[in-house]
Structure formats: structure tokens, C-alpha cells
Subunit: 355 residues, 2 copies
């Protein structure tokens, strides 16, 4: 059983690798050759004031690569106000660290093959999924990208966008000016061929943009319906960053996966501050369930952009355990080839009694 | 992060410990102070002839002990015929071993606290749950126990039965005579105060019994409705060991947990031999959803046995991740006190990026 670190994984796989790894998985999912298991959140009160404990897991079986993945998050969650808007912030209480894990099993033998923290893989798969949608939905001649957000996810969104379109200008907005400027400095170093500039409001950020990517932890919309110009593509990493009013202003909308449009929430009575995050799916007027998904997009069952003036959107709604099967299979191959990671005795993670 | 072996766990906890650990969990579940997550099975074809791959997981949050448990099974499953009847048999293909794991997390910090193979804990929790039901449903003066089955689970059923009633005689049947006789020899050594004898058919096994316990891997019923005598209590570890016809002959029936009456099955098209195991829940005439459960039994919301002549039954239907939270909390306490297990670096199972 191989234990890998985020650092090792970051050295093994690139955004382009992830884009290549995910697309065949979406094709198999669309064709009924891969299985999801539902995303389940167990939510209960925490001893920490205003916080709650959230245990989340989601699985995916991808027979083509012989991999079963399970992604687990064990978080103490808070909803602080930043710039007057509530955010979803995980408190690092596990020795000052967070707890997100991916487990990979063999569908041929059942064996636990690997475990690793989810951070690097999680960020790359979110970016790659938005990148795949962008490839099919943004204008071919898209040149200016508006990026709303400057956190951990925003960097991967930028990498994915640049991997599928030759953007020449990126406009970045975050309410945290210091964080935004640090992000821009890092992004300029990573992508020296692109002009990367700061915007001092979300509205100014999206002006003149061919593509708007939201990559925030906001629990309320960060894009206003009035901002949508003909031909723009809107992309987000959380359903809450846009709302039905924004999507109603778009002519062609895709979600991540129809089979997993909803998550299963189990919420213990008395848990504080949960409502802002959960229950979005059932909000009145929400038509989330009616949109086609990435599997339909990559197989052509539902076509991508048809006209230059069309307003398109992709909502990277509920994540899929299958993304971790696809990216995980790639990580495992590369780690084995490179001899990276801690090898633990397989007997610790198996047994000689019929369970 | 503590890694424990089945051998270590067997040395730490007893059946009586498990009976004590589980009952307060069922009270909390009944009172809305503990959370289940659904049992999910992902079923897909396997490269092994006639076999399929089954990935199963179920979670449970028990705030009273600050524990989130997740139990995972990663199995290649076969359905061989034994004595003409189909059985559910897991193939040990992970280096000759099986793969069942329990992960325990802290609901206070999110940290992964422990991992261990599920075998010993799984057997004890199944036994303890049937034992709790037996305590409330069998006659106080029960003296003769019929045990149908002589495998890994049967030993725990016997331990649980003897922990809650002073049985003086045990009649054991299994179609595998050699296995049955070996089981009886072991059982006599473990329980020298009890007369333990072989029966050469299931029908003869149940004759004169005050309690009938099935503990098999059968996918079809092993008890016939005509065998039920007034005053008997019927207990099983799999819903398929009894069927609606058997339950219709009982006056007072309990299931494990109404909140988890069904499992969620995701079955990939083309997977062989699955039907005998799955789909039981929706069989015509099945009234499984109408029975009260163990939480209601231990809190008195649904009363146990009311008359000596009543025929009662307990169907230990779908397992609960919460059983592993309860037994797991106990194992963790005892392992820490005894200094048992392999301590791995917590940093391997956490991360410094907000996932």
C-alpha cells in the first residue's frame, strides 16, 4: 500500500495530464461503463462555536483502469463573513492541518493500492473539469479571461483555461487585495506569456472578458446577471457562485453530472449555520436538474457552443468520486514508475478472515 | 494515526464489551443524536469468471463519543452452490487475503485516528446486535438454542446468545459436516458449561429450540415457516436467510434500523450473478419496511416480547456504519490504554492546503 504526499503528487502530474485523464472517464460514464456512488455529507454539531463537523465521501468505479476510488473529507466548517458575504471555510484543527483523503482500490483483487491527501489531486481535477467544459463552450477566439477569486482553486482554473485556449489577458478580482496581488505575482511567474492584471471590483473584472471563471468559496452569487455580454462563457466551481437568475441569462448551460446532480445530506438536529450551504438544490425556481452534463458534452450527445454570440455556462456542481479514480490511476502509474512514496505492508490493510 | 490488526483487536474487546458499547449508540440513534450514512454498493464486472467486484461503504457519526466511522469492503464476489443452495462467497484475491477496513475520524478535529481490518469488529458487532435483540425478544427462560451455520459469524452469534441468556443446550447444523464438527469442538472448549451437540438437518436442529439463530452466507431461506413453534425467537444475520413467508409466521418482528432499511445499489450493466443478492428488498409482498427496529426496542418505543407463547423474530438486515463508530470508539480507547498498534505519522493523512 503506497502512501503519497501532496508534494510528491504535484511533482508527478500536470494540468495537461489531468485533462487527458478525465475526458475518457467522462466518455465511459456517459456510455454506462463507469459507476458513481452518491456524494454523502454527514453534518453534526461541533464543540467549536458556530462551527459544525462535516464528513463527506464519494466513490467511483472505473473498470477500464481497474480502479475504485473513494474520496473522504473530514472537516470542521465555519461560515465567516468576508467583505460582508458568507464563506465556507474549513478550520485546520488536525494539528493545524486539514483532513481530505483519497483511497484507491483494485477492482481486480480488491486490494487497497494507495492513500494520499486530496489537496493537489482535488484542485487539479476541479480545474481540469472546468477546462474540459471551457474547451467545448468558450469561443475559439477567446482572448480575455476574468478570474473572480485568488485562492487555491483559482490557480488551477487559470492553468486549465490556459491549457485549452490561448488567452492573452487575465483580469483578477478578489475582495482580499493583498491575497489578490500575491496571486497575480505568482501567476505572472508561472505564465509569463500572459498579461495578468488586477481588477478592483468583480464588475470591473468581468468587463471585456470572453470567459468569466469564478473560483471562490462564496456561499452567495459573485456574478450578477446584468454583467453577461453576448458571447461570454461563464464557469464556476461551486453552484452557489451563480444562481438561477445568472443561469436564466445564459442560452446554453451544462452541469457536472446529471447522475449526481444532488448530494445526500444527513444533518443532525441542532447543527448551527448549515442552511446557507445546504438546501440550495431545492431552492424554489432552481432548474438545476434540467441541464445536460459533461459526459453529454464530450460525447456530443448535447452539443457545445453553436454561435459566437451565445452566452454559455458551466456549473461545476457536485464533484464525482470518479474524477479521483481517473486522476488517481494516473498518479499511481506515475508514482510506481518514479518509485515515489512510502510503501506500507499490504497485510496491515487486508485480513485473513472472511469479513 | 493508529493501525491495528485483527489479532490486536481480538485481544482488546469481548462480546460483553460490544453489547455494552452498542446499546447507548442505538439509544442515541433513536433519539436523533447520531447519524447514519447510507450503505452504498457499487457493483461492476470482474475479470474473474462468474464473479463481480463489489465496493461497499457505510458511515456513522456518533457525537457522544466524538467519532465518525467509515467501514469499507472491497470484494470480488462469487455465488457458488453449497448443498445445492447459492452462497455469497468473497474470493481472497488480495495476496490471498480479503479487504475490509474501518476508518475512525475525530468529529472534534477531523483527524484520521485509526485504521483497522474489519473482520473481528464486524463479527462482534453483528453478534452483539443480534444479542441485544435476543435479550428483549427471547423468553427469559430460554434454555435450548438452535444454531444454523458453523462459520465465522456463527461463533459470535453463540457468544452473544450465551451473554444474554443462560442457555444449557446448543444444537448446531451446517451442511458441511466437517466444518460443523470442528465448530462444535471449538465451541465446547470456549463454553464448557453448555451442552453443544450436532444436528444432521436444519429441521432437526430447530426441534425443541427456544431460540433459532441463523448465521449463514445463504442467499435463500434456511428456516421453513412450518418449523416455528409457539414461544420461539428467530434470529438471522442476513435478510435472505428468512423470507416474508417466515416473517409472516411471526407475531413480533424487528429489523435492524428503519432509517437504513434499504441499501443503495449501483450496478453496472452486464455484471453477472448479481440478481440473487440484490433486489431482495423490492421483492413482491416484502413488508420489510413496516417493522420496528432495534432503536425502538432498546428505548421501549416498540415493546419486546409480551407473552411466553409469542413467536418473535429479529432480522439483522442492513448493517450500520454507526456500529463501527460504537465498537471503534471502544477499540481505540483500549488500544491507547494498552499501547497496542502501529503509530504512523499524522502528517501522512492530513495536509497543509485547504482542500
Amino acid at each position: 500500500m503506497l502512501v503519497l504526499s501532496n508534494e510528491a503528487i504535484a511533482g508527478l502530474i500536470s494540468m495537461r495530464d489531468c485533462l487527458e485523464a478525465l475526458e475518457p472517464m467522462y466518455r465511459d460514464l456517459a456510455a454506462g461503463r463507469a459507476l458513481l456512488s452518491p456524494r454523502v455529507d454527514n453534518i453534526s454539531p461541533s464543540a467549536h462555536p458556530g462551527a459544525y463537523y462535516a464528513f463527506k465521501h464519494m466513490g467511483g468505479t472505473w473498470p477500464a483502469r481497474g480502479i475504485q476510488a473513494l474520496r473522504i473529507n473530514s472537516d470542521v466548517l465555519t461560515h465567516p463573513l468576508v467583505d460582508g458575504k458568507p464563506r465556507r471555510v474549513k478550520a485546520p484543527l488536525a494539528g493545524g492541518r486539514w483532513v481530505g483523503l483519497v483511497l484507491l482500490f483494485s477492482t481486480e483483487t480488491g486490494a487497497l493500492l494507495a492513500m494520499f491527501p486530496d489537496g493537489v489531486a482535488q484542485r487539479l481535477r476541479v480545474g481540469a473539469t472546468n477546462g474540459i467544459a471551457l474547451k467545448h463552450l468558450a469561443r475559439e477566439d477567446a482572448k480575455t479571461l476574468a478570474l473572480v477569486g485568488s485562492g487555491w482553486q483559482a490557480g488551477a482554473q487559470l492553468m486549465a483555461a490556459l491549457a485549452v485556449r490561448p488567452f492573452t489577458r487575465v483580469q483578477v478580482y478578489s475582495p482580499r487585495a493583498q491575497r489578490r496581488d500575491a496571486f497575480i505575482a505568482e501567476a505572472r511567474a508561472a505564465h509569463p506569456q500572459v498579461q495578468i492584471v488586477a481588477a478592483d471590483s468583480a464588475e470591473r473584472c468581468v468587463q471585456g472578458a470572453d470567459v468569466i471563471m469564478a473560483a471562490t468559496s462564496s456561499l452567495v452569487r459573485v456574478i450578477e446577471p446584468a454583467w453577461l455580454e453576448p458571447g461570454v462563457h461563464v464557469s464556476c466551481i461551486k453552484a452557489q457562485e451563480v444562481d438561477q437568475a445568472v443561469l436564466d441569462g445564459c442560452e446554453r448551460v451544462f452541469v457536472h453530472a446529471r447522475q449526481q446532480a444532488k448530494q445526500i445530506d444527513h444533518i443532525l438536529p441542532g447543527t448551527p449555520n448549515v442552511s446557507a450551504e445546504h438546501g440550495w438544490w431545492n431552492a424554489p425556481g432552481n432548474r438545476f436538474d434540467t441541464y445536460p452534463d459533461v459526459g453529454m458534452l464530450v460525447t456530443g450527445t448535447a452539443p457545445g457552443r453553436q454561435r459566437a454570440g451565445e452566452i454559455t455556462a458551466f456549473v461545476n456542481s457536485v464533484g464525482l468520486g470518479l474524477q479521483f479514480a481517473a486522476v488517481g490511476a494516473l498518479i499511481l502509474d506515475k508514482a510506481r514508475a518514479a518509485g515515489v512514496g512510502e510503501q506500507l505492508p499490504d497485510d496491515w490493510f487486508s485480513e485473513d478472515v472472511h469479513p
